[in-house]
């Protein structure tokens, strides 16, 4: 009898302790990242698909079509073409085709590049319904970016790396309602106090 009573008493007490703990959590701020309104900071060594680097003085790609990256690629996903303009010392790139469906992000191309003309991008919002979308021309991508931002310098340098506001809002979201994303430091998961 005494055992049952103590069991009931401590059982009941534990229920109330549990209720108190959950109510405490109820009033604390949320710990989830409200994607796409908020994004985590991308780690500096994040490997997106490769992209061409611009020469800040000319605004042209640094690449001079030595094709070392093409040779270094183990899965044959890079094709570089270029022309040598009249009077110029070096070739300039006209077509840099990356087949991202085959790329394993091994980084051999970035290592092979002598002039630092390619690097990993910080693009991670990649989704498409067709395979062809992932066979991309990096030269055109660079030009389009310059036309969009109007700047020679690429905004997205690894040193000041931050997640970009995702270019495409998720389906069903009005583009104009997507507010400026709040960037949260990516120190792993947000801290949770041990209770």
């Amino acid at each position: 009898m005494k055992n049952i009573l103590t069991e009931v008493y401590f059982g009941l007490k534990s229920l109330f302790i549990g209720m108190r703990i959950t109510l405490g959590q109820f009033f604390k701020p949320t710990i989830t990242v409200h994607y796409p309104y908020e994004t985590l900071k991308i780690p500096p060594r994040f490997r997106g698909h490769i992209e061409l680097v611009r020469d800040p003085s000319t605004g042209k790609p640094k690449c001079f079509v030595c094709k070392l990256c093409e040779k270094a690629c183990p899965s044959d996903c890079i094709t570089v073409e270029g022309v040598k303009p009249e009077g110029a010392k070096r070739k300039t790139v006209t077509n840099y085709r990356l087949d991202f469906t085959k790329c394993s992000l091994c980084g051999s191309c970035v290592e092979a590049c002598r002039d630092g003309a390619i690097r990993f991008s910080r693009e991670y919002n990649l989704a498409s319904t067709s395979k062809e979308e992932f066979i991309m021309d990096l030269f055109q991508r660079l030009e389009a970016e310059r036309n969009r931002t109007g700047q020679n310098e690429t905004l997205d340098t690894p040193e000041s790396s931050q997640a970009k506001p995702n270019a495409q809002a998720p389906r069903g979201l009005d583009q104009t309602t997507v507010s400026e994303p709040k960037v949260i430091p990516a120190a792993g998961a947000p801290k949770v106090e041990a209770t």
């Binding site: 049952i4 009931v8 009941l12 229920l15 549990g18 209720m19 703990i21 959950t22 109510l23 959590q25 109820f26 604390k28 701020p29 949320t30 710990i31 989830t32 409200h34 069903g172 979201l173």
Partner: protein, 341 residues
């Protein structure tokens, strides 16, 4: 002034019209509450788990229930092959109807009650017992093994929990000397220390009695941690597995309507209904009743997201080994106290 307008209404409005208005009012109340309690539940679940909950449809996700309702209404009502068609269609209505009928005798304020029955409490429990049968019928008619397991569970669970609940109610009827809910509320006027919850001079175990009532209410409405009937991780959706569209929607609404009824009843029986907690605060119509009732509804959500589902033998042990003996003790104790003092 209020009395005069009430007399005016009573004289000029025929009784059937009044009843129709109350019926429509209760149905709208139940419908809106069912829709928005889902929002409260989801938002509450989010907050308890420290995430934002629904945010996309409308400000703070407030239009989500309406979107859900439109979706459910526009879905096809599939009646699977081999089911008992009439019972299958009847079951959701049979779950909904007792809750609606029960709300008809709940006094929302001094003057706001659809029917001031002398046997209001008895009526609620008489209708409430249909609930079990309806879920059982739904499970049986579905011709689905999960539904039948769920139906068997519902019957043993609700039979087990109806006993302590009714013992508690008998205690309350003895203490109050009436089954009229308005009179029960009326006897609890004058500050929170007059509420039945704290009527310790009649029965020192009164808070415990309230806890038993609350636990049984959770079990009777098949809410977590006693949601054996639905048990989505074991039985798909239990008795609701084969229901689609608004068939499921009505079950869903009925669950919230039953929570509403249970919390209203707990408020009336233990928390002084529409009486204000402090004597100098005015009794503002149904305000205090709604505040207390929604606090209990919130605590139901709170309990759901705090405790895991009990195992079935644990559930029956709790009822037969703890709740029934304790409620018998409170019954005997309060009858002895009533006789002695």
């Amino acid at each position: 002034m209020i009395q005069a307008s009430r007399d005016l209404i009573a004289r000029w409005w025929p009784e059937p019209l009044r009843l129709l208005l109350f019926l429509a009012g209760i149905m709208a109340f139940v419908g809106l509450n069912a829709a928005y309690l889902v929002w409260v539940e989801r938002k509450g679940a989010g907050r308890f788990q420290r995430r934002p909950g629904p945010t996309e449809v409308g400000p703070a996700g407030l239009l989500q229930p309406i979107a859900d309702a439109i979706k459910l209404l526009s879905k096809q009502l599939i009646v699977p092959a081999g089911v008992d068609r009439s019972l299958f269609r009847l079951a959701p209505l049979l779950v909904m109807a007792p809750a609606l009928a029960g709300l008809a005798v709940i006094p929302f304020s001094e003057s706001l009650a659809a029917r001031n029955l002398n046997v209001g409490l008895l009526m609620i429990f008489a209708f409430g017992s249909i609930n079990v049968m309806a879920i059982m019928l739904g499970g049986w008619a579905s011709r689905n093994k999960y539904s039948i397991i769920s139906a068997a569970r519902v019957v043993s669970q609700n039979v087990a929990y109806e006993i302590p609940m009714l013992l508690v109610v008998i205690t309350m009827i003895m203490v109050m000397g009436t089954m009229n809910l308005s009179e029960i509320v009326g006897a609890q006027s004058g500050g929170f220390w007059h509420w039945n919850l704290l009527r310790l001079w009649v029965n020192p175990l009164m808070p415990l009695t309230f806890l038993i009532f609350y636990t049984c209410m959770l079990a009777e409405t098949n809410r977590a941690p006693f949601d054996m009937a639905e048990a989505e991780s074991e039985l798909v959706a239990g008795a609701y597995t084969e229901y689609s569209g608004m068939g499921f929607g009505v079950f869903f609404m009925a669950e919230y309507a039953n929570i509403l009824l249970g919390c209203s009843l707990a408020t009336v029986l233990f928390l002084g209904g529409w009486q204000s907690p402090l004597p100098f605060l005015p009794t503002l119509g149904p305000l205090w009743f709604l505040l207390k009732m929604y606090f209990l509804v919130f605590s139901v959500v709170w309990v759901r997201w705090t405790f895991p589902r009990t195992q079935f033998y644990g559930l029956l042990n709790l009822s037969w080994k703890i709740l029934i003996p304790v409620s018998l003790v409170t019954l005997v104790l309060s009858s002895a106290m009533l006789k002695l003092f």
